[in-house]
Subunit: 664 residues, 2 copies
Amino acid sequence: MITPKEGRRRVVIEAISPEVDGGRFPVKRTIGDRVRVEADIFVDGHDSISALVLYRPDGSEFWIQEPMQPLGNDRWSAEFTVTELGRYRYTIQAWIDHYETWRKDLLKRIAAKGDTAVDYLIGAQLIEDAASRAVEPDASFLGEQVSIMRSEEDLTRKRESATSHALNEAMVKYPNRRYSTDADREIVLVVDPLRARFSAWYEFFPRSTSGVEGQHGTFADCEARLQYAADMGFDVVYFPPIHPIGVNFRKGPNNLPASDPGDVGSPWAIGSAEGGFKSVHAELGTLEDFRRLLRRASELGIQIALDIAFQASPDHPYVKDHEDWFRKRPDGTIQYAENPPKKYQDIYPFDFETPQWFELWRELKSVFRYWIEQGVRIFRVDNPHTKTFPFWEWVITEIKGEFPAVLFLSEAFTRPKVMYRLGKLGFSQSYTYFPWRTVKHEITSYLSELTQTGVRDFFRPNHWPNTPDILPEFLQTGMRSSFLIRFLLAATLGANYGIYGPAFELLESRPVRPGSEEYIDSEKYQLREWDVENSRNLRDLITQVNRIRRENPALQLDWTLQFHHIDSDQLICYSKQSVDEANLIIVLINLDPHHAHSGFVTLPLDQLKIDGNQPYQVHDLLTDAKYFWHGERNYVELHPDRMPAHIFCLRRSAHTEADFDYFL
Amino acid sequence: MITPKEGRRRVVIEAISPEVDGGRFPVKRTIGDRVRVEADIFVDGHDSISALVLYRPDGSEFWIQEPMQPLGNDRWSAEFTVTELGRYRYTIQAWIDHYETWRKDLLKRIAAKGDTAVDYLIGAQLIEDAASRAVEPDASFLGEQVSIMRSEEDLTRKRESATSHALNEAMVKYPNRRYSTDADREIVLVVDPLRARFSAWYEFFPRSTSGVEGQHGTFADCEARLQYAADMGFDVVYFPPIHPIGVNFRKGPNNLPASDPGDVGSPWAIGSAEGGFKSVHAELGTLEDFRRLLRRASELGIQIALDIAFQASPDHPYVKDHEDWFRKRPDGTIQYAENPPKKYQDIYPFDFETPQWFELWRELKSVFRYWIEQGVRIFRVDNPHTKTFPFWEWVITEIKGEFPAVLFLSEAFTRPKVMYRLGKLGFSQSYTYFPWRTVKHEITSYLSELTQTGVRDFFRPNHWPNTPDILPEFLQTGMRSSFLIRFLLAATLGANYGIYGPAFELLESRPVRPGSEEYIDSEKYQLREWDVENSRNLRDLITQVNRIRRENPALQLDWTLQFHHIDSDQLICYSKQSVDEANLIIVLINLDPHHAHSGFVTLPLDQLKIDGNQPYQVHDLLTDAKYFWHGERNYVELHPDRMPAHIFCLRRSAHTEADFDYFL
């Protein structure tokens, strides 16, 4: 027979939110967020209960308490604000509030003119109990109430005391938490800097910045491109790997299996006699040059993100010094990367099953640490899904334990559950399937999954219309409208988005061959010159949209995203609001780059707190045009050859009809 | 710095199903069930994986293994059959299958005519490793393959060996589970007797069976009523409490606060000088009489369910002997049940916060044990939500540990989360909100929640159209059609259902006052005579429906329930199938007791495996009428004054048009 330890803990706490996989993984938030904690809390019978959320930053010994409020249907909630970077913990405590049960019943009995004599004696016991925990002057006050309740005074006097606001106020300060129930776990919350939630990324290849045909760009050359990105309003600039590039099996242009002398190779084939993950490719400059570039970025309000690709070229020093970190084949050679029949002989993957696995982990961690010491705070991780999950959980937890402001972007273009697992393990942001979600129902269902389900507690999307590996079919039309559509979707659907430029804004659209998503003459294997002064450049529109994003808090978060009905399959409509609901943005995009489309959009006026009885203004932040809309259904028409979208800022303020005369 | 223990466990196991609250509570099944276990299982990179479900009855030391199969999207599944009552455990183990990875890559390389020389050497290592675990003759066979792979033989010979079915068959027998991942929990599964899933309950008051006005019925009198219930096809007969009834504060007829001598009182005011929970009310007979009745029930194929109401009348021996199990008021009296301003002075609730709580628990457990010793196997528990949750979890686990065939029905007509919690804690069946779900969308959404979500893993519905406490408004019309509609819904929506009779089948419909759901002249407070020979009696139809339920396995389970579109709000259509899909029942009910309604029903033919290209027969098991339907849309018309429902058995067997000539 089992003997339970304490069978008197009557209150139940269930279904806590937020929570990832029953508390197995941390919940993610950004600094300054209000965290709303909810749970189902209930007890047998009819007793009243009280509940607290207890929370603390990981370093603090003391729990901070926030009383929970009932929402109905046994659901309770409380909110707190996270003000420090790093890890917090929270949990819930709940107990039967015998005082409140007594008070509630007494009030009912008084209302029903029932017999209350014994009730005051019961109340006296409860108040006496609270008094024993109280400090002055509450203790004396409560003592007096006990005396009244037990006195020979008439019931009127007792009733006044028992139902007084002063008594209630004193009593709730000294609850009796005997047999309280503690939630069976503490949930970890990771608080990231704001940039984890709101960022505009710009990727470029440092080596393609010389402006001179065939000349390798340097970090010094990058300064102008950095300025260019800053002028467009980007706040993260991300570089492909900047390390020495292997010589053996170096790839030629367009991924040719062999290279000629002078071919620059792929930056992802990392390591040569010059060094590896902690070195800088000599043709780009020195470490000091890189640090200077970091300082310049900082002056421009930009953070530079480094690409971390944990794989070695055959020439990486590790291959010689740590042969046992790689898999040996029976013929004595090292196993190169392979997806039969494809061979990637320029790349040796690490063997995470090596007996020296922990030595390997520590070394890889030291790579992050090294670049953090140089001033890097954001890492884009290449193919994290081909390294082991336990490693990522460990290394991210370790690094963020020391440097809580550091962010990791997961480049896992892989199966859905693997992508999500990496989010759970700690990646701050993740690439998404956005490049391939082009029609309305795909965009609607995918973005709803990302922003309106429990996924959002651990997975922060970062939407990219293109990358050096992905030139989606949609962009292969080469039409300005196609690029605008994908850019506007990414930048308004996602508080985090990025483009690979200047390829993107210069409408680079030629695949290496029909049916491929690889660029022809890809910068992955050769230098490219980009004529950013070309009039086709989308920079002005990009600049404008990044400014709109900065000026409108609604576009700085993902969770308020809502799709609205519009009676055309080619038009999509969605809104986002700021947390305080003051800023409401309504986006309308024509998904068809070829033809104009029109339709009626239906807005849920009540939910958006729009007064349907008077006209309201929608102000297109792209064209500065102002429209007056009436009621829930309004007409829109979008011409992709002009501008395929509206980004409306909605003015809720009340007007009289007279106000509109001016516009009529 | 954290040093992980084993960083080489690369495989991830997530989202196991079935599972209740992350494994906190057992999953429920009935004996003979196929249990389908699923999980998301995946690894970094492209290696192949293998996975097993491990399961065992709680008594067994040894895990039984069932290999899992991939379902796509990283979901895996395996099934096993539960053949013993009581508790099982299951868990999942998964590992990287380096042999399968090698084999898969080798086949691709052969297909691409790539270089395979080194592959055979790698294979030799893997086979040698398996050989070291193998028994004869496999060990020798595998050893020979190693020799071939390492020999100077030509590649053709090696390829034949490496790709042979024989090698693969031997290799999968000796997997290398190095660094395998175990799911982080074992999930408990409670296997109940079939009756937990499929039962028809009939409740009657033993004291109302004498057939003579004013004469208290006895257990001997109950035999005829038992026969009557058995004739109707019920298999569980449930009695309100059969214990001595308190005298102090005894209620009079129609719940009058006072009683006259001769008033019989409420059976739920348990205990008198004659005894308490382990005694039999003298007017019903002796313990021996009760045991005789149990034997008679057994002969009839019926189980008698006892009502267990853990509360005492002021006269219960506990009040004297265990004063400390009740709450004392400051005036020295014991706290009676109360919901201010209502007082229930005939009932003392137990104080589950007593310091003697565990003594109380043990005593209450002994009550179950006592009646089990007399031969009772089913308990209907009165108001379990007013006793503590930890008590129920403990007592049900204890009792079922000793007597796994025992069933508990939870009478918790309370808030949704409390109802569900009691299911999680171990109750085998639960009363539901069915009495108040009368319109189509309510029935559809509630029954879908119960049968098509994770709720079904822990909560087994038992639908009652009426109880002694609940005469729903819908029945207060007193119309035969109203009773038929509610009966047919309960008996076909629920594999478990029950009625309180003879009130139900005699169309008892008068409330104690307008707006009340209490019966007038309720048997709860007085004797009643029932003229079961009255021609209004619905017994024939009830008998027929219980026979249909027994003959159609589709109606013996809840999980295959599916609602189908029918274009009238007053008509509802749903289907159920047997596990093997051979038996398909389609139910159509007119929810309006007053008017005939008609409409077209739409069936998902593909899903129901009906050939839409030829007519198919629907055979009404209520009227024996046979209809031929064509395609997915067919017309129905139901007249409540005749029969408000069809219970169609669908014949899927193919016919030629000629077969129908006879009917045309």
